[in-house]
């Protein structure tokens, strides 16, 4: 057991999967010779060569499409897109092709690609590097969308994603690449499906995914000091959603807050609220609350940026509201 950073966990998963199966390749901008913007493929170019750790030109739609084509003939490409903003350029091949090929071929073809991309805000990267598009991918049939919150999931879910026969979108986060966690030395896999209760509680359920799980955990600590025992639920998979675990938790706590770094409209929180309405409306003792980003392009100015993006303080205040304390 060693404490490793999120980026090291991703790198280790790449390394093991590439060693295990020569059909696994990595593709993306600057991932080879340069070692990757987030170091997720550091050293792998030297180890596996340029045919398997492929530096691509800045052509997101077509290199993603090339990965998809390769996956249709048995390869297992792990495609890195440097920022989820740039994944918008690859929507045609991801949404129109990868997500639909199995279905429109009547199950006769498949696209087992993995697309990894950071999809959150960092610090003052401004509007074109700060998009959070989880809600867009989770509305696409035929994709899996997962959001590892720490090194254990980052490692174990990437390994599962490589072996899974579906196209998997892994949404990482710029502010998590250096986040550390004790990770077992022996190989393991983490399933792509299933929400996880990462902190047990009885008074309120704080639902998060990706980086917002950490905001929920921080808020839960503060709530504890106020005598409120919060449960924290990490969705882990946005598509498919684990509505059963959400229902069970809400039926236990009777109160719920959803924390998302995405904007609210047609978002993850909206979807979770709808599911709660459908599945356990009568279990609720209070109106649910969504904590989310402001519905604006992310501003450059640090003060404005901070105001646009939810914080642990926002989650804490929101929870107090659900609890009727303010």
């Amino acid at each position: 057991m060693a404490e490793i950073a999120y980026w090291e966990a991703i790198r280790r998963a790449h390394d093991e999967e590439m060693a295990n199966d020569r059909m696994v390749i990595a593709m993306g901008e600057d991932i080879g010779v340069a070692g990757g913007t987030y170091k997720a493929t550091l050293g792998l170019y030297d180890k596996y060569g340029e045919e398997r750790v492929i530096d691509t030109p800045i052509s997101e739609n077509s290199y993603t499409g090339i990965g998809i084509g390769a996956s249709m003939v048995g390869m297992r490409p792990i495609i890195e897109i440097m920022s989820i903003n740039f994944a918008l350029l690859a929507l045609d091949t991801l949404v129109n092709a990868a997500a639909k090929i199995r279905y429109m071929s009547g199950g006769r073809a498949q696209c087992p690609i993995v697309m990894r991309t950071p999809g959150g805000t960092a610090h003052q990267l401004a509007a074109q590097h700060s998009a959070r598009l989880a809600r867009m991918f989770m509305s696409t049939s035929g994709l899996r969308v997962v959001t590892p919150r720490g090194p254990i999931d980052a490692y174990g879910m990437l390994k599962s994603a490589v072996r899974c026969n579906d196209p998997v979108i892994i949404i990482e986060h710029e502010q998590m690449y250096n986040l550390k966690e004790e990770v077992p030395d022996e190989e393991f896999f983490r399933p792509l499906e299933g929400a996880e209760i990462v902190r047990e509680g009885s008074d309120i359920t704080l639902v998060g995914y990706n980086f917002s799980v950490h905001l929920c955990l921080e808020a839960a600590k503060r709530l504890e000091a106020d005598g409120i025992n919060a449960e924290v639920l990490d969705l882990r998979s946005l598509k498919p959603l684990d509505r059963e675990t959400i229902r069970k938790s809400v039926e236990k706590t009777h109160r719920v807050l959803i924390a998302e770094e995405d904007e609210a409209p047609v978002g993850v929180g909206a979807e979770i609220m709808a599911l709660i309405n459908e599945d356990c409306f009568f279990a609720l003792d209070a109106q649910p609350v969504r904590i989310h980003a402001a519905d604006v392009p992310v501003p450059y100015n640090a003060r404005l940026e901070k105001a646009a993006i939810p914080s642990a303080e926002d989650v804490y205040q929101g929870a107090l509201k659900v609890m009727g304390k303010i």
Partner: protein, 336 residues
């Protein structure tokens, strides 16, 4: 080419024309829904190019991929005609189990990797198929058929660049029929000769008559040999014409009857029939008998099969969205 092959190829092209004509009738009878884009007029291209490809070996075939005008490419690649027609009928026995329709014929059992509605999307997919061939060290290549209209997509430029940089075994076949849906190439495209556009990527390319199957085959053989020998991608352009509209809803108001008649004189089936008659290989009566055999087969076997096949079950609506039999080690669910 021996005499038997010549006669076979003529018969194949006539079959493809009659198959498309019959889908037109079925569409008018509302047996076929959605969009229907017919290949009539361009038969010499798919037939001639794929005649020179590695086919007949199932999943060891060359890979073939194309746009939405895909019936004939699928048929020539080896997809059973019954299944292609049944797909148009939306039946469970169809090539894509009734889930794809006319624009999305798939038959991976013969490496026909699909028809795609997004113009330009098959470019990168084809390069990916080629990357797979290269990675496996196989002699297979990928062959991508698209129209001149697709060349104005960004994927054209992105993919030509990567195919060349990575030396991928892919043959891009441009079927230049002069129209991007209903807009003439002169009004949409700065460079008229499509093969010249890939000079920008230092790619080998050439342009040929696409109405004469023997010309097509000769050119395709050279291009395929080039790609298969590991020299990298090749772009081959064939000048051709579609005799029908872009799709069934097309009134063809964008082109003149004179232009159509000019091209109809160069009908690939007429050209090849005439040549075989002149060479004494076949008579007008033989061709009539051939047509009758084809029509009988289409009606009594292919259409009958499609009519009688079952529709997909409504309870199977959610099948094929994701892997229907996933490995729980990777998928879960998570044990709490």
């Amino acid at each position: 080419m021996n005499d038997a092959d010549k006669k076979r190829l003529l018969k194949e092209m006539i079959f493809f024309r009659r198959f498309e004509d019959r889908t037109f009738e079925a569409y008018m009878e509302r047996k076929i829904g959605g969009f229907l884009h017919l290949y009539s007029g361009q038969e010499a291209v798919a037939t001639g190019v794929l005649e020179k490809a590695m086919l007949g070996k199932g999943t060891d075939n060359d890979y073939v991929i194309t746009g939405y005008r895909d019936h004939v490419h699928a048929l020539k690649a080896g997809a059973p005609a019954r299944e292609v027609m049944a797909e148009l009928y939306g039946k469970e026995t169809g090539s894509s189990r009734g889930r794809g329709g006319s624009m999305h014929i798939f038959d991976p059992s013969v490496n026909f990797m699909g028809g795609y509605a997004l113009v330009g999307q098959p470019f990168p997919l084809a390069a990916g198929l080629a990357m797979g061939c290269k990675h496996k060290g196989s002699k297979q290549i990928a062959i991508c058929f698209l129209g001149d209209g697709a060349n104005n997509q960004g994927t054209f430029h992105e993919t030509m660049n990567m195919a060349k940089v990575w030396n991928l075994p892919v043959l891009f076949v441009c079927e230049n029929n002069g129209y991007a849906i209903g807009t003439h190439i002169d009004r949409s495209t700065a460079v008229k000769d499509q093969y010249k556009r890939v000079c920008a990527y230092d790619m080998e390319a050439s342009q040929h008559d696409g109405m004469d199957i023997e010309t097509v085959m000769e050119a395709a053989e050279k291009a395929i040999d080039f790609v298969r020998s590991g020299k990298g991608p090749y772009f081959i352009e064939f000048m051709t014409y579609r005799f029908r509209g872009h799709s069934m809803s097309d009134a063809k108001g964008y082109r003149t009857r004179e232009e159509e008649l000019e091209w109809e004189k160069r009908d690939p089936i007429k050209i090849f029939s005439k040549r075989l008659i002149e060479q004494g290989l076949i008579t007008e009566d033989d061709i009539k008998a051939m047509e009758k055999d084809i029509d009988d087969e289409i009606e009594n076997d292919i259409i009958k099969f499609s009519e009688e096949s079952p529709e997909p079950k409504v309870e199977d609506l959610h099948k094929y969205v994701l892997d229907d039999d996933p490995d729980p080690r990777w998928i879960g669910p998570l044990q709490q």
